[in-house]
């Protein structure tokens, strides 16, 4: 059974979004996503300062089997990529909600425009996806 924390928001492409106190958001991939991918061996995160559109591929997670893009759930400017993941990609497998990939400052109005799901809706989405 996948772990879906109630205090986060989710996307259909299996990213999670957490609001931080300074108005930025932290983004990672869900427990369901890490489980589907299997053992992660390489994670590429974006550089700070990069401006991304909602739905833009901006990070890559690679398991032994395959490479998968991670998409920006919200338009904005990247404020940080998680430097820990270069040496410890497996941290995402260990705890997908602690191992954030990037932090982003949303563009004005971007949060309202973003297609985010509540934890309950994401769980329903997972159940429907089978």
């Amino acid at each position: 059974m996948s772990n879906v924390p109630a205090d986060l928001k989710y996307t259909k492409s299996h990213e999670w979004v957490k609001n931080l106190a300074d108005g930025t958001v932290e983004i990672g991939i869900t427990d369901h996503a890490q489980h589907s991918l299997g053992d992660l061996v390489f994670v590429e995160v974006p550089d700070a300062g990069r401006v991304v559109k909602a739905g833009e591929a901006c990070a890559v997670v690679e398991s032994v089997k395959a490479a998968s893009d991670v998409y920006a759930p919200i338009a904005g400017e990247i404020t940080a990529g998680n430097p820990q993941l270069a040496n410890e990609p497996e941290a995402v497998n260990t705890d997908a909600y602690a191992a954030w990939l990037m932090r982003l400052r949303p563009a004005p109005g971007a949060v309202a425009a973003a297609a985010l799901m509540s934890a309950a809706d994401y769980e329903k989405f997972l159940a429907a996806e089978g």
Binding site: G38, D39, V41, E62, A86
Partner: protein, 365 residues
């Protein structure tokens, strides 16, 4: 839904993730692909390879037939049970498939061909067999388990009666024999010692459970792929196919051009290629930068030109990324690989990367 092996329900019960593989529903992994890979390098693992196609070839002229059909020469098979790895070529020297053929008796050989090429292979073999009056019998009644790793033979032997176990443990590498209704062969596709056992379909589930009880890990096709790539073994469809010939696929060692009078399919084309020299070669790559090599990435070899990776993965043993790549024959030791628009440094190395648990290439820290 694809075809299923006799072990399909057990794979599901064991929690395997099932994927399509050449039209078959096969387990890609049970828990952790890296964990399964390491089980084979350090202990023992079992993999369901029942999707591969076992074909018995019977007739008085079967040896002559195989000398015509295959690029390697079955004249090398002198001891009953001995196996030979060979390519089966078309007239242009393109690889129709790679296979293992066992010499059982002078009128009975057994071939094991790839699952994805089963129908094409059977049609081709039957067409060529007609003029040799060789009977082609698909052995759908058999399951096949690959038990691999340094502890694999000792554990697998415990499935057999004591006398049969002793005989199995006495098998030389690349030799198989019938033991207690099973065909036990000391072959594999992982770079480790082990057995591949063909058995009646009904025996497969109890055998697998017993192996698990003996501490043999269930391994999916994911681990099988990283194991074979570390072992420097080609995968048909990735590293060679009908549009490539053995000389540009790292398989020159499997082509028997001598004796010259042996007229095998593809011989004339290969002779012409050899005369001119193959413009390409298949090499191993070790990625020196961070990242993961995958198939179909562009390889830049400086003045020599460009090539392409044919298989790539993260190597759990080396903890680096490795690949096989088809590059210009003149390519040197240093190349670059285009991964999502970034040029990363890689070193050309001679496969295998890993054999019998040991790293065979130099990996800088």
């Amino acid at each position: 839904m694809g075809r299923q092996t006799p072990l399909f329900k057990l794979h599901q019960e064991l929690g395997a993730r099932i994927v399509d593989f050449g039209g078959w529903d096969m387990p890609v992994q049970y828990s952790s692909q890296i964990g399964e890979h390491r089980a084979v390098r350090r202990g023992a693992g079992v993999c369901d390879v029942s999707h591969m196609c076992v074909v018995d070839l019977k007739g008085a002229r079967v040896r002559a037939f195989l000398q015509h059909l295959l690029a390697n020469d079955v004249a090398k098979l002198k001891v009953p049970g001995k196996a030979l790895y060979s390519c089966m070529l078309n007239e242009h020297g393109g690889v129709l498939d790679d296979l293992i053929v066992y010499f059982l008796t002078e009128s009975w050989f057994r071939a094991v061909v790839n699952a994805g090429t089963r129908d094409k292979d059977l049609a081709w073999i039957r067409r060529q067999a007609a003029s040799f009056s060789v009977e082609v019998i698909e052995r759908d009644d058999l399951a096949m388990l690959a038990i691999q790793g340094p502890e694999a033979r000792a554990k697998a032997a415990q499935l057999l009666k004591p006398a049969d176990a002793a005989a199995a443990l006495a098998l030389e590498p690349f030799v198989g024999r019938e033991l207690g209704g099973w065909f036990v062969a000391r072959t594999g596709y992982t770079g480790e010692d082990g057995f591949e056992i063909m058995m009646p379909a009904a025996d497969a589930v109890p055998a697998w459970r017993r192996l698990n009880d003996l501490g043999v890990a269930s391994c999916g096709l994911g681990a099988r792929d990283t194991l074979r790539l570390e072992a420097g073994m080609n995968l048909y469809g990735n590293d060679m196919d009908e549009n490539t010939h053995p000389f540009e696929s790292g398989l020159a060692w499997t082509v028997a051009m001598e004796p010259q009078e042996r007229d095998f399919i593809g011989r004339a084309a290969l002779a012409a290629i050899r005369k001119g020299g193959s413009p390409k070669k298949l090499v191993g790559l070790l990625l020196e930068d961070r990242g993961v090599l995958r198939s179909h990435q562009r390889v830049l070899a400086g003045e020599a030109g460009e090539g392409e990776t044919t298989s790539g993965t993260f190597s759990p043993t080396l903890e680096r990324s490795i690949a096989l790549a088809r590059v210009p024959a003149a390519a040197g030791e240093r190349v670059q690989v285009d991964i999502r628009g970034k040029l990363l440094n890689a070193r050309v190395v001679k496969p295998p990367f890993v054999r019998n648990g040991k790293t065979l290439i130099k990996v800088s820290p």
